[in-house]
């Protein structure tokens, strides 16, 4: 895009955001209740949250770089970058948090049939269906491909039986994208990628209480769940390809989670840094935080230009989550005894401590740090074994 066109587009975006982004949606997110997840039975913390979602969805800007035909904005990479920068400049919240956008959507765009794209993607873009991910099982964590949940071919439908674990927000989700075993004689090549309605008979969920005191994950049980045959993404027994592709996007998302929009400095946010020893640690952390922000920018630019190494999301996921854990540790240290309060109003019901504890999962979920390092070693550095 020519520079002058970029300037015109930037001005248009700025005017539109100024006219359409409600003031309430420019205030910093205070907690989970401020995040809009959409779904069949959406909850909005205020009316402006719905207004903001509807206006952005109507523009296709919940997924600015998806094609217009699938509910996207049809923007070029350069235009998408401008939109995000302008949103960041006014502190605009993301209108929609969605595993459909960050995980399933990209996989459907790559592997879905045209009919599937036309059916599912616009619903995702408008935030009408809330998705969850059925990957891990009690016996299949880091060794995900050993999963045992079965889908048996019953002619006109699949019959699904088994158990998933660590299903994010399964109790709040409308649909699931799920890895199932369709061939017990193969490992990776016996896995199929299936979509189905969580309201189907035979699906039950049970939240898992975490050390942070919240329950964002569930155990999910499937007992003779009937799934229509046209809800397979990609080919039967080739679901591992779809899963790996999707995991790449999940890793990108998780790697960016700890990144505050704008200035990444931790030191600027702390009111009392205390002694020089802690100050030095925070200063060193800030170097890493800025540097990783540059890495994220570079990675996104390279991704859009098709230049990124296919295994680079593993490096991003590793570095981003380790950094986020470090940030939480330092924030706790700087917060001192104030940050230890668990349920007082003063502490926003223990936000600091809960955030710190939750961050520990970042380097486990979506493939542990050790799994990522192994991928980098083998696929990027081409080390043997």
């Amino acid at each position: 895009m020519a520079v002058v066109d970029e300037d015109v587009f930037r001005a248009e975006v700025r005017d539109w955001l100024e006219a359409n982004c409600p003031a309430e949606m420019r205030a910093p997110v205070r907690g989970d209740e401020d995040l809009c997840w959409g779904g069949r039975n959406p909850t909005f913390s205020c009316p402006e949250q719905k207004v903001w979602l509807d206006r952005m969805a109507a523009k296709g800007w919940t997924v600015p770089d998806w094609p217009v035909a699938y509910g996207g904005g049809g923007l070029t990479p350069a235009e998408t970058k401008i939109l995000r920068a302008e949103m960041k400049a006014i502190g605009a919240r993301s209108p929609l948090y969605s595993f459909g956008i960050s995980m399933l959507g990209p996989a459907l765009l790559e592997y879905g049939s045209e009919a599937q794209k036309l059916h599912y993607l616009p619903q995702i873009a408008r935030g009408e269906i809330r998705w969850c991910q059925g990957y891990s099982e009690p016996g299949a964590g880091s060794d995900l491909a050993s999963l045992q949940t079965r889908a048996d071919d019953r002619g006109d439908h699949w019959l699904v039986n088994g158990q998933k674990v660590w299903t994010s927000y399964a109790d709040k989700a409308d649909w699931i994208f799920c890895l199932v075993r369709t061939d017990a004689t193969e490992k990776q090549k016996g896995i199929t990628f299936l979509l189905f309605d969580m309201a189907s008979p035979g699906v039950t969920t049970k939240p898992i209480l975490l050390i942070s005191g919240s329950s964002p994950f569930c155990e999910t049980f499937f007992d003779d769940v009937r799934v229509p045959k046209d809800q397979v993404v990609g080919a039967v027994n080739r679901g591992w390809d779809v899963a790996k592709y999707l995991l790449g996007h999940e890793r990108e998302m998780i790697s960016g989670m700890g990144l505050a929009a704008g200035d990444p400095s931790l030191g600027r946010t702390l009111t009392d840094i205390g002694d020089p020893g802690l100050r030095a640690l925070v200063a060193a952390f800030d170097v890493d935080a800025y540097a990783f922000q540059a890495m994220s920018e570079r990675f996104i630019d390279e991704l859009k230009a098709g230049q990124a190494h296919p295994a680079q999301p593993s490096m991003m996921k590793y570095a981003g989550t380790e950094l986020n854990k470090q940030r939480s540790e330092l924030a706790m240290a700087a917060g001192g005894s104030d940050a230890l309060e668990w349920d007082s109003a003063r502490s926003n019901t223990g936000a600091a401590a809960r955030t710190w504890l939750r961050s520990k999962g970042n380097s486990i979920e979506g493939g542990t740090s050790e799994i990522q390092l192994g991928i980098v070693a083998k696929r990027i550095l081409a080390l043997p074994g």
Binding site: D263, S265, G267, R268, L270, I273, R279, A280, V282, A283, A284, D286, V287, D288, Y290, A291, F292, A294, M295, E297, R298, F299, D301, E302, K304, A305, Q307, M315, Y318, A319, E370, Q372, L373, G374, V376, A377, K378, I380, L381, A382, L383, P384, G385
Partner: protein, 377 residues
């Protein structure tokens, strides 16, 4: 602007890389083992002049290539990868940044010779073992039509062979204050200036300078009298971004050497690169170097855009590139095992160069502190 190299920049990289890579670290070994007094090759520097590299940051109207810090960084990364001793960083990056702000007389006298690769510049800022530019104490006192400089400087890289010295002196205030600093263009061959060249661990040369009432004319002043801090900072930031790029080259080459070794060295009946303990460390190192590379490119782009946040990003780049390269050479020597300790293998040369580049223009701790101060804590 996307955070990756443009096609033109890749062309430059593809030109400079193979040019320096042809000889690689053997070039350094030849100079070192021949006890070369300068520690760098005039022949190669003249080629830099012919190719327009010595004038990379000089505008085309002044006979230069009219390029930016990104391009200078590409050259420096190649220099780092090949351990090529070169006046490029002190002269073509830091020195030229100051000359660009000089009056016609000083600029006209020196810039053309710099661009052709026939003159080099030494940066005389540090006075103690650690980089603390605000602590400058070397005095410049008014005398007749000019000034007399008295005091000492240290770690003036390639100062013994430099034709021109950029000297940061105190004309007012006390050591520790940013106000009261003035930059001077001082020919090395000045009366009252004693130059002691010392060889450093990486076999490059640096000078200790003693100024005993060295007389300079008023037109030797570059920028404003007493108000030189801004220009000094610009010069140092140019040098820091450049040093970061060279460190990325040093670290990248150390990683490559080490990964190659992990693939070939066999113990316990298999390549040692099959051991997870080493794979994880190599992968972590790769990650750190990629991040350092991104931060460095960001800093260079910010400098080229003259962005207000450029100094922050420069501090980040120098700190991160320093940490990553230091990790690379440490892991490199360790994973090479015993032969990593031998002079025959190049990995130790990278370790020495990293150590020098860490100190030059301020180490990682200095940069982290600067970043914190710029962020108000």
């Amino acid at each position: 602007m996307p955070l990756y190299l443009t096609d033109d920049q890749i062309m430059l990289k593809d030109m400079v890389g193979p040019m320096l890579g042809e000889e690689g670290p053997r070039h350094l070994r030849r100079l070192r083992d021949g006890h070369d007094a300068a520690g760098w090759s005039r022949e190669l520097w003249a080629r830099f002049g012919e190719m327009g590299l010595a004038g990379v940051l000089v505008p085309e109207t002044a006979g230069g290539s009219g390029l930016g810090h990104v391009e200078a960084g590409i050259v420096l990364e190649a220099i780092g990868r090949n351990l090529t001793p070169s006046p490029f960083l002190a002269t073509a990056v830091a020195g030229v940044t100051v000359l660009a702000a000089a009056d016609d007389a000083v600029r006209g006298r020196w810039l053309p010779d710099v661009v052709t690769g026939s003159a080099t510049i030494g940066i005389a800022v540090d006075e103690g073992a650690k980089h603390r530019p605000a602590a400058i104490a070397l005095r410049a006192e008014r005398s007749g039509n000019g000034f007399r400089l008295t005091g000492s400087k240290t770690f003036v890289v390639q100062g013994g062979t430099a034709d021109l010295l950029i000297v940061a002196a105190r004309t007012a205030g006390a050591a520790g204050e940013e106000a009261g600093i003035t930059l001077f263009a001082v020919p090395r061959a000045s009366e009252g200036l004693d130059v002691e060249s010392v060889r450093l661990a990486d076999s490059g040369m640096a000078a200790r300078l003693a100024f005993d009432g060295v007389a300079v004319d008023a037109d030797a002043v570059i920028g404003e009298v007493d108000g030189g801090w801004g220009l000094l900072s610009r010069m140092l930031d140019a040098g820091r971004a450049g040093a970061a790029a060279e460190l990325v080259g040093v670290g990248g080459a150390a990683l490559d050497l080490t990964v190659d070794y992990l693939k070939t060295r066999r113990q316990f009946g298999r390549e040692i690169g099959t051991f997870q303990a080493l794979q994880f460390r190599a992968a972590h190192l790769y990650s750190e170097l990629e991040i350092a590379r991104a931060a460095t490119l960001k800093a260079q782009q910010m400098l080229d855009a003259e962005h207000a946040d450029a100094p922050k990003w420069v501090a980040v780049a120098k700190a991160k590139a320093g940490q990553a390269a230091t990790l690379a050479v440490q892991e490199g020597v360790q994973m090479h095992g015993g032969i990593g300790m031998t002079d025959e293998y190049d990995i130790g040369l990278y370790m020495k160069r990293d150590r020098v580049l860490q100190e030059w223009f301020g180490d990682a701790a200095f940069q982290a502190d600067r970043l914190a101060v710029m962020n108000g804590f």
